[in-house]
């Protein structure tokens, strides 16, 4: 790696003066220990704002736990569900969280395999998002149970009644898929964390030192260890892709395997997966913008990262529109009576406000993200990506709740209104997610330092003759 020598002539067109090269050089200016400090420093900053945030989030979580206890004690009747809307806000939020979780894998695994270097500062934040989103999602199969104290019957264990769970049920597939995904992405998160845990161990003391020492698993940074790590990450990257694709497909099949009108659609699996990617990537962008600001990680999370992330969101969004349209046109064209009724409800009936909210909140960002200005201005990107998630949550709500309000026998139609219990519990998972993330940001280095350093190693400026030529090296 060459450091720019102070004697470099400052010509125009000189690499030194070109912004993109300037940026790289800027990073190359920093020594390793400076980077470490820069990443670790924000972790120690727990000012008043931080504690107020934790208190508020904690209060919401506690209130949500109370609401959950209330729900368990008094019964599912304290929620707003009824016949025929047997699933409502809980399942909506469940699907939403599972969707959010897809971004992590997208960034870490898929982009790793595609050798997209801009992923480097983002991977940990993304994987953490996946893990926490899955944790939140994993609460819902428990929350929505009428007899949650018997939840363990869904776990296949040998018992004296020889009763096994029914693996034909999509809920069991959910269980397996989410569990696998959670374990997988947690391991993936953890594996990629080990070198940084070692780094943190070496730079801290007190309780942190003790914690990091345990988590570092005695990492010494030897060649062999790095080699094994890269092998493991390589395998994970490939292995987690099918899980990533299947999880949301399976969740979508919770709906698609029934004969409920508008659920019984073959397009659900890819539609949900792409929706998840769209939603997750947007959430990731939102979170990164917020974290970047609050932890002052501006030099690590730069406009080029958001630019690329924004482009990914754009592509995912366009794909989402395609799948939505593919699903919609066959329903609309097929003209099945109840489906027609549901479409009518959505387009010009009582559900219309939600439908138009969904469409505008999902489509407008796509248009906006075409513009680089939007993608690279943090505030604008934040607004755009939050809008996407508003739209995607509404989309899930329309699918789950909207469809259940109608069915094949009009005598049995119904409607739904959420209660404080449901809202509290949903708020609990949002607050819980935020709380976990906030605590995470103060315990775990947010930016994967070793990956950044690795990335730096890949791209260097080498002098060939009088030219400073950017070069890239294969690391793996």
């Amino acid at each position: 790696m060459s450091e720019a020598s102070p004697n470099q002539p400052k010509h125009a067109n000189h690499p030194d003066q070109m912004p993109e090269f300037e940026e790289r050089l800027l990073l190359a200016e920093r020594k390793d220990w400076e980077i470490n400090e820069a990443v670790l420093q924000p972790m120690f900053k727990t000012g008043r704002g931080f504690w107020i945030l934790v208190a508020i989030l904690g209060a919401i979580v506690l209130w949500g736990l109370y609401a959950w206890g209330y729900l368990i004690y008094w019964g599912m009747g304290t929620s707003g569900k009824n016949r025929p809307v047997y699933w409502a806000l809980f399942i909506t939020t469940f699907v939403f969280w599972v969707g959010i979780s897809h971004a992590g894998t997208m960034i870490s695994a898929v982009l790793r395999l595609l050798k997209a270097d801009w992923r480097r500062p983002i991977t940990r934040g993304a994987e953490a998002m996946t893990a926490f989103a899955l944790l939140m999602a994993g609460l819902y199969p428990l929350i929505h149970l009428g007899r949650v104290w018997k939840f363990y019957w869904m776990i296949p264990y040998p018992n004296n009644r020889f009763m096994w769970p029914n693996f034909q049920s999509p809920l069991m597939w959910d269980l397996v898929a989410i569990f696998t995904y959670l374990i997988g992405s947690s391991l993936y998160l953890y594996l990629a964390l080990i070198p940084d845990m070692a780094m943190a161990r070496d730079y801290t003391d007190g309780w942190r030192f003790k914690l990091y020492r345990v988590l570092a698993l005695g990492w010494r940074g030897t060649e062999a260890e790095w080699h094994k790590l890269h092998r493991a990450l390589g395998i994970f990257s490939v292995a987690i892709i099918p899980i990533f694709l299947s999880v949301h497909s399976i969740v979508s099949w919770d709906f698609a395997v029934t004969v409920q009108p508008r659920w019984h659609s073959t397009i659900f699996a890819p539609y949900f997966v792409i929706g998840a990617v769209y939603s997750g990537l947007s959430a990731l962008a939102s979170i990164l913008i917020i974290v970047r600001r609050s932890m002052r990680l501006q030099e690590f999370l730069r406009s080029e990262h958001f630019d690329s992330l924004g482009k990914l969101v754009l592509v995912a969004g366009m794909a989402w529109v395609y799948f939505w349209f593919a699903g919609f046109i066959v329903e609309w064209y097929g003209n099945e009576p109840i489906v027609r009724e549901l479409i009518h409800e959505e387009v010009s009936g009582r559900l219309a406000p939600f439908f138009y909210l969904q469409m505008s909140a999902n489509v407008i960002p796509i248009i906006l993200l075409v513009f680089k200005r939007i993608r690279t201005t943090p505030v604008l990107l934040l607004g755009t990506t939050l809008l996407v998630n508003v739209g995607m949550f509404t989309e899930r709500a329309l699918i789950v709740i909207g469809s259940l309000q109608r069915n094949d026998l009009p005598f049995n139609w119904g409607s739904y209104r959420p209660t404080w219990v449901e809202i509290s519990i949903v708020a609990m998972t949002f607050a819980g997610f935020a709380l976990l993330y906030t605590l995470f940001s103060r315990i775990i280095p947010f930016v994967p330092v070793w990956e950044i350093k690795e990335g730096r190693l890949r791209y260097t400026l080498r002098r060939i003759g009088r030219l400073l030529v950017p070069t890239a090296a294969e690391m793996e």
């Binding site: 009747g77 009428g146 949650v148 049920s169 069991m172 029934t258 004969v259």
Partner: protein, 241 residues
């Protein structure tokens, strides 16, 4: 997966209910008889208004025409005991399954309340216990000991009064015979004043339900869904006076 119970295996039974819409007067005797037989909870006005009643059989009422040429028609709907039941595969814990007599059985103490089956049923005949049942004393004295009481969080539905089926089969077996056609009567069938409801073994070619199943008036609900229900409706008649 639901066994293909309508394959005629020697000696296998397929219970079926025939609902003669020409006789049904919508009197709700079946509704109350079902409550009395099966220990259902009463939910009160507020919960009933929100669609949380627990009737296992309800009588749909359909208006036809405009004043003054108005007609109303009744259609009792209970669990259709579908052979290809959409509710059976989706239960994660096998709380609902197809038994060897063609019934869609519900095991209350196995149900953990995911309500997936409630969504999967296209007839929406499955009802849920949203709260704990309350039987202010001494109403609890009336409870039928043959039927378990379901607490909150459990899905329930019409069982064709399986407790009566079993009891009669056991008693008949003790006498060394099998139940005669018409001997087993679910509560609704027994009380229906117009005899609009009839119960029997569809696999027995001599039973009345078998013969009525071939009536030109017979139809099933939502046949296009392929559920193969065990409830056969006989179309109401019409006379132009």
């Amino acid at each position: 997966m639901a066994k293909d119970a309508n394959q005629s295996v020697e000696g296998s039974i397929r219970w079926a209910l025939v609902v003669d819409l020409d006789r049904c007067t919508g009197c709700q005797a079946c509704v109350v008889a079902c409550h009395a037989e099966n220990n259902m909870q009463i939910v009160g006005e507020k919960e009933a208004a929100y669609g949380r009643w627990t009737h296992w059989i309800i009588i749909h009422r359909y208006w036809e025409g405009e004043y003054p040429n108005v007609k109303a028609r009744f259609m009792p709907v209970m669990c259709q005991q579908c052979t290809e039941a959409p509710c059976e595969p989706v239960c994660p814990v096998f709380a609902t399954y197809h038994n060897e007599e063609g019934l869609n059985a519900q095991i209350y103490n196995r149900c953990i309340g995911t309500r997936f089956c409630g969504n999967a049923c296209p007839y929406k005949v499955r009802v849920y216990n949203w709260f704990r049942p309350e039987f202010p004393e001494p109403l609890a004295e009336q409870l039928n000991p043959d039927v378990s009481i379901r607490t909150r969080g459990i899905i329930e539905k019409c069982t064709f009064c399986i407790q009566r089926i079993r009891r009669t089969e056991i008693d008949a077996r003790a006498e060394g015979r099998s139940p005669a056609d018409g001997e087993i009567q679910p509560a609704c069938v027994q009380t229906c004043p117009t005899s609009a409801l009839l119960f029997g073994d569809l696999n027995d070619p001599d039973s009345r339900v078998s013969q009525l199943a071939h009536s030109h008036r017979s139809f099933r609900l939502l046949p296009e869904l392929g559920t193969d229900p065990g409830v056969i409706y006989l179309k109401g008649g019409e006379v132009n006076v």
